[in-house]
């Protein structure tokens, strides 16, 4: 009768804000939106280093890491997060980013392993949809 139980797998998301910028309106609105879409959202607070973000992602065993950045330091910080995740063997974690990111940088970020970049005006429903479609079955 164990089979009767639904294997309920909640999507766990880490929302993190690397860099010094404190504008957390976007991060918090997205965190709430994902919660309302039924996900479990862990928020780390402001000003986290890539090392701290990755350590948290590993401990919390999240499916998704969402990085909010507006300070212009994205080319330094975002690829670092992906690289550190890989080093820890957590390359199955979906990494997405949002914020003010120049279009020119997006291909470079995708090459570095950022799955998608959401620019200003992107509706939360799009982010939810992307996560649901791309979250990997992990083992």
């Amino acid at each position: 009768m164990g089979e009767e139980k639904k294997e309920e797998r909640k999507i766990r998301v880490l929302i993190a804000k690397p860099g010094l910028n404190g504008h957390d309106r976007g991060a918090k609105v997205v965190a709430r939106g994902l919660r309302d879409a039924g996900m479990e959202v862990i928020y780390t607070g402001l000003r986290q280093t890539p090392e701290q973000i990755v350590e948290t992602a590993i401990q919390e065993d999240v499916d998704v890491v969402g990085l909010s950045i507006l300070s212009g330091a994205h080319m330094t910080l975002l690829p670092k997060v992906v690289q550190l995740l890989r080093e820890r063997g957590a390359d199955d974690v979906l990494v997405i980013a949002g914020g003010i990111i120049p279009t020119e940088d997006i291909p470079k970020l995708k090459e570095a392993g950022i799955a998608e970049v959401f620019l200003p005006g992107a509706p939360i429903s799009k982010i939810v949809e992307f996560i649901k479609k791309n979250v990997r079955k992990r083992r």
Binding site: M1, G2, E3, E4, K5, E7, E8, R9, K10, R12, A31, R32, L34, R35, D36, A37, G38, M39, E40, V41, I42, Y43, T44, G45, Q48, E51, Q52, E55, T56, I58, Q59, E60, D61, R88, G89, A90, R139
Partner: protein
């Protein structure tokens, strides 16, 4: 269960016993998400549990539990203790989602390899502690954590579950919550081994201490005999560090007291509770299955709906049917 599953669980269990962070994290995900695999995983690690001191921390939102836990963890780290922290936050009953933000106040612990923090959503458990949380405690225990701190939030009924798993229960309050008195009446006073009046740097902490002492005294008058451990009331501040060291030592004293007197009883009680819970859960699941899916039991349901028979009679009939089939 497929071969691959067994292999996977065994690999994770080995990792847990080695204290590997990723394995611990995965193991907790298994007990949260995969009821099929969880029993196997627990069977592999259970022999290695029972060594950790489990500390429950509960209290209303805004009382500063997470910051206080960060402070305690820092001191225990200096003593060379390995720490596991489980922070439970409520799941939204409407969306099934949850916002887990306790880590914000524990940022200073991130990066210490011997501190593991896990945020868990309550996922609809009634007493604030789901089975997954209890299993997560076992995982951290088996992984060699010396002290496991479990933080639950809420007021009234939601945190009493903590008593079933923790050796030592801290109830954290603070001045200026407004309705602290009501909170104290809500039944939480019975569960605390140590009452912490946090944020002693702001507001009138002494008044809150006095209030708690009064309530404790009144409560103890109704007890047939004085308990051997009289609950302590300790004032703390994470800003000035007032009382933190004292709190740490008191928690250790309480643990020593438990071990010296009633640990056998405590463990026994805990396991009885757990067995009853697991059996209850299985029985409930099976009952639900029969009532909704089995034609005979379904008929009984229909009769109740038509007011043909009453719920007690119906339940007796269904229970008899369950026992006859012996399928669970």
């Amino acid at each position: 269960m497929a071969e691959g599953d067994i292999e996977f669980v065994e690999r994770i269990a080995e990792g847990v016993l080695r204290g590997d962070v990723r394995s611990i994290a995965r193991a907790i995900s298994i007990v949260e998400n995969e009821p099929r695999l969880a029993p196997l995983l627990i069977s592999k690690i259970f022999p290695y549990t029972g060594r950790a001191h489990i500390v429950g921390v509960t209290g209303p939102p805004g009382s500063g539990k997470s910051s206080l836990i960060a402070k305690l963890a820092k001191i225990w780290r200096k003593d060379g203790k390995k720490i596991g922290i489980i922070a439970v936050d409520p799941t939204s009953p409407f969306t099934g989602g949850a916002l887990l933000g306790d880590r914000i106040r524990m940022q200073e612990l991130t990066g210490d390899k011997d501190v593991y923090i896990r945020s868990m959503a309550s996922r609809g458990s009634l007493d604030g502690l789901s089975r997954a949380t209890r299993d997560a405690i076992k995982i951290l225990d088996a992984a060699g954590k010396d002290i496991i701190i479990v933080e639950t939030v809420g007021a009234g009924q939601a945190e009493v579950g903590i008593v079933k798993v923790a050796h030592t229960v801290l109830v954290v309050l603070c001045p200026g919550l407004g309705d602290e008195i009501q909170f104290l009446k809500a039944g939480i006073m019975e569960i605390g081994d140590i009452f912490v009046v946090n944020k002693a740097d702001i507001g009138d902490a002494d008044r809150v201490v006095l209030e708690i002492e009064n309530i404790l005294e009144m409560a103890s008058e109704f007890l047939p005999q004085k308990p051997a451990w009289a609950p302590l009331v300790i004032k703390t501040s994470v800003i000035t560090n007032e009382g933190i060291e004292k709190l740490v030592r008191s928690i250790e004293e309480h643990y020593a007291y438990i071990r010296g007197t009633s640990e056998g009883e405590f463990v026994r009680d805990k396991i009885i509770e757990e067995l009853v819970d697991i059996i209850g859960e299985n029985v409930r699941e099976y009952a639900r299955h029969l009532i909704t899916k089995d034609s005979m039991c379904n008929e009984i349901l229909e009769r109740v709906l038509k007011k043909d028979i009453d719920p007690y009679t119906a339940a007796r009939k269904i229970l008899a049917e369950m026992l006859k089939r012996r399928e669970f």
